[in-house]
Amino acid sequence: MSNPRTESSVTAELPAGWPALGLPETVYDAEPEIAHPLRLLGNVFRSAWEGRELAWRLFVRNVRGMYRQTALGLLWIFLPPLANTAIWVFLRAQRVLDFDFPSGVHPTVYILTGMILWQAFIDALQMPLNTLNQNRSMISKLNFPREALLAEGLGDVLFNTLVRLLLLLPALFIYGANWSWAALLAPLVALLMVLFATGLGLLLMPIGSLYQDVSRFLSVGLPFWMILTPIIYAPPTGFPGNLLNWLNPASPLLMCARDLLLLGNCGNPAALWYGLVAIPLFLFGLVVYRLALPALIERMTS
């Protein structure tokens, strides 16, 4: 009570009453949080850490909820890449499509691996916006570590991808592949790809939450995007097709993870640059997510 405090300062030293009660003080004001970038990043990490238990509970809730509501359970995780692969393999067998494939790997394994990675990419890309939409009522009514929702979403993407990778075991067993120690790097690159896609998704999230155009655009555009990514065919080598290997953000890391696993080489040199960008992009996405949420909550109806 006795010590004067500065009205304008957010960082005002702890007031007199603080030690007496031993309680942390929270201040909400109009000062943009980005004015102190380091503290902001610290807040992101602290919040993520505080939300770890919640993230785990939400993740378990999702998995359990899905099993109890479906007759086929796990099968639904397998189905999208399996069905996709089956179609392309069938069309190829019928000679409707006659694309080139790299030598040394069976086309079915090649397509299946690409499909699983592609699915991981677009799941991660859409995850932030989907998470926000699914948890609208919770987000707009309760204050909790929001990073937990992202952790849960990321957990879902990774869990599903891991489960799908199980499909590869019988496929590799039947069709065989050129193993090398480089294959051990593939999971790491796949993880970078998921972080990269999540980072992109986090940047889309604020606009996507305000304008439905974003999710509509995605649902229209994703099939085309898949065709432009070398999943059902070998990567183009001639100009201008090879430009796509660099410009299509889905290509480099996906190609790299797949080729490391199946062919034992990096597949696309651009993967290095994309891989370097992945983690900073993801962190930047987390910052955007945190800064954007209050402004988005203001406009949420539920």
Binding site: V27, A30, V288, L291
Partner: protein, 417 residues
């Protein structure tokens, strides 16, 4: 921040935009502003963009430890926006909010419940969302289930629960958070009366333990059970902060004023034979008066103008409060009175001796009929608004209660043996 305050709200302003397209675009701009760190204009009045207004204007109040304050006000007064700012969901455009300690919020009970999972699983999820750690939940789990009166049902999926059971479980989880500040938005108007009483009791125990509570509600009748102070919002402004009875009566007066405005729009088209022209409350000497005390005499002076003669006219009157609806009705026929009205102005006086109403705001609805019930001439809604601001000096001393709507004469006796 003062020693014993758990919450300090200082000159908080919050903008709002009702137009959808504009709000979406402003949303993009605001996100951009957060990312670039651009600050607001210096003065609130200059910061408004087209289509925006202030949902909360220059609001300031404190909340000391262990106090329960009610936030009341008409719809759209800014209460919920204020709560969202306090809860850290949205950021103030100007001003600041300081909170000491952990905040618990009961905004919508059972938010985040998954209908497929059992009550038990949901307790753990809901409590985790509200900020409890696993071992903290383990410790209070039995209390939560006991309080919600669910018993073995707790192991069944939530979707088999009745809405009452869900609400009980939601309240029970939130009530066991052990926050320093508990924020509640319209959640007490649920559950059966027995459970509600239990909630009040629980809230009182919390405040005794030093928990501060902010309660937003329209059910002002129940406020005196838990709150000791009210903050009244009207169109974004705090128009009153202090005593419970005074605040509630001010709020009801605002409500009656709204009802009156709406009613005026309805009754202007009266081109019938007779019309109720003036209605006003006055004291026993005929002096206009709108603030009364319980036990005083209240007179209602009614002026009726007739264009044509109305034989055997009747007047029906009902007395209402904005929060409880009709309290009582009376009619001239109850005294066997019928008036043959000639063209011209006629005055009537309706007297209430020893007014039994307690603190609050009240109003009258009047209708003018001819001989038969279908012989309707005119109706005035929400007129003769008056307030009861306290009890008369004598009965106050006798320990008469001030909460409730009416004072009913009563007598106590101690029986021998």
């Amino acid at each position: 921040m003062s020693h014993d305050n758990v919450l300090e709200v200082r000159s908080v302003w919050k903008k709002y935009c009702r137009q959808l397209k504009r709000a979406m675009w402003y949303g993009v701009c605001d996100v951009g502003r957060q990312l670039t760190g651009k600050r607001n204009n210096a003065i609130p009045a200059e910061a408004l963009r087209p289509g925006e207004f202030y949902a909360v204007r220059n609001a300031s109040f404190d909340l000391p430890r262990g106090q329960c304050v009610g936030l009341i006000g008409p719809n759209g007064a800014g209460k919920s926006t204020m709560l969202k700012v306090i809860n850290g969901l949205i950021r103030p455009d100007f001003g600041e909010v300081r909170i000491r300690g952990r905040v618990g919020a009961l905004i919508e009970l059972g938010t985040g419940f998954n209908p497929i999972l059992s009550g038990r699983e949901n307790v753990y999820i809901n409590a985790a969302v509200l900020g409890l750690k696993k071992r903290e939940i383990d410790r209070v789990y039995d209390q939560i289930v006991d309080f919600a009166e669910l018993g073995d049902v707790i192991n069944d999926p939530i979707r088999t629960y009745s809405s009452g059971m869900r609400v009980r479980l939601g309240f029970s989880v939130a009530a066991h958070l052990q926050p320093d500040l508990l924020i509640m938005d319209e959640v007490l108007a649920v559950g059966d009366i027995g459970f509600r009483m239990k909630c009040f009791q629980h809230l009182n125990q919390l405040t005794e333990k030093g928990v501060s509570i902010i309660l937003v509600t329209h059910a002002v009748g129940m406020l005196p059970r838990v709150a000791s102070r009210v903050v009244v919002f009207d169109r974004g402004n705090i128009v009153f902060d202090g005593d419970l009875e005074q605040g509630i009566s001010l709020y009801e007066q605002k409500l009656s004023a709204k009802i009156e405005q709406r009613a005026e729009k309805v009754s202007v088209n009266s081109q019938t034979e007779g019309a109720i022209e003036t209605v006003e409350t006055c004291d026993e000497h005929g002096q206009p008066k709108s603030d009364f005390r319980t036990g005083e005499k209240l007179c209602l002076r009614i002026g009726i103008r007739c264009r044509e003669a109305i034989p055997k006219a009747r007047i029906n009157v009902s007395l209402s409060s904005p929060t409880t609806e009709v309290i009582t009705t009376t009619a001239t026929v109850q005294q066997g009175l019928r008036f043959d009205l000639n063209p011209g102005l006629h005055q009537f006086l309706l007297e209430f001796e020893n007014l039994p109403l307690l603190v609050g705001a009240y109003f009258f609805n009047l209708s003018l009929f001819g001989e038969e019930m279908d012989d309707f001439h005119h109706r005035r809604m929400a007129v003769g608004t008056f307030r009861v601001v306290g009890v008369d000096a004598d009965s106050g001393k006798l320990g008469n209660t001030v909460s409730g709507i009416v004072r009913i004469p009563n007598r106590w006796k101690k029986l021998e043996g």
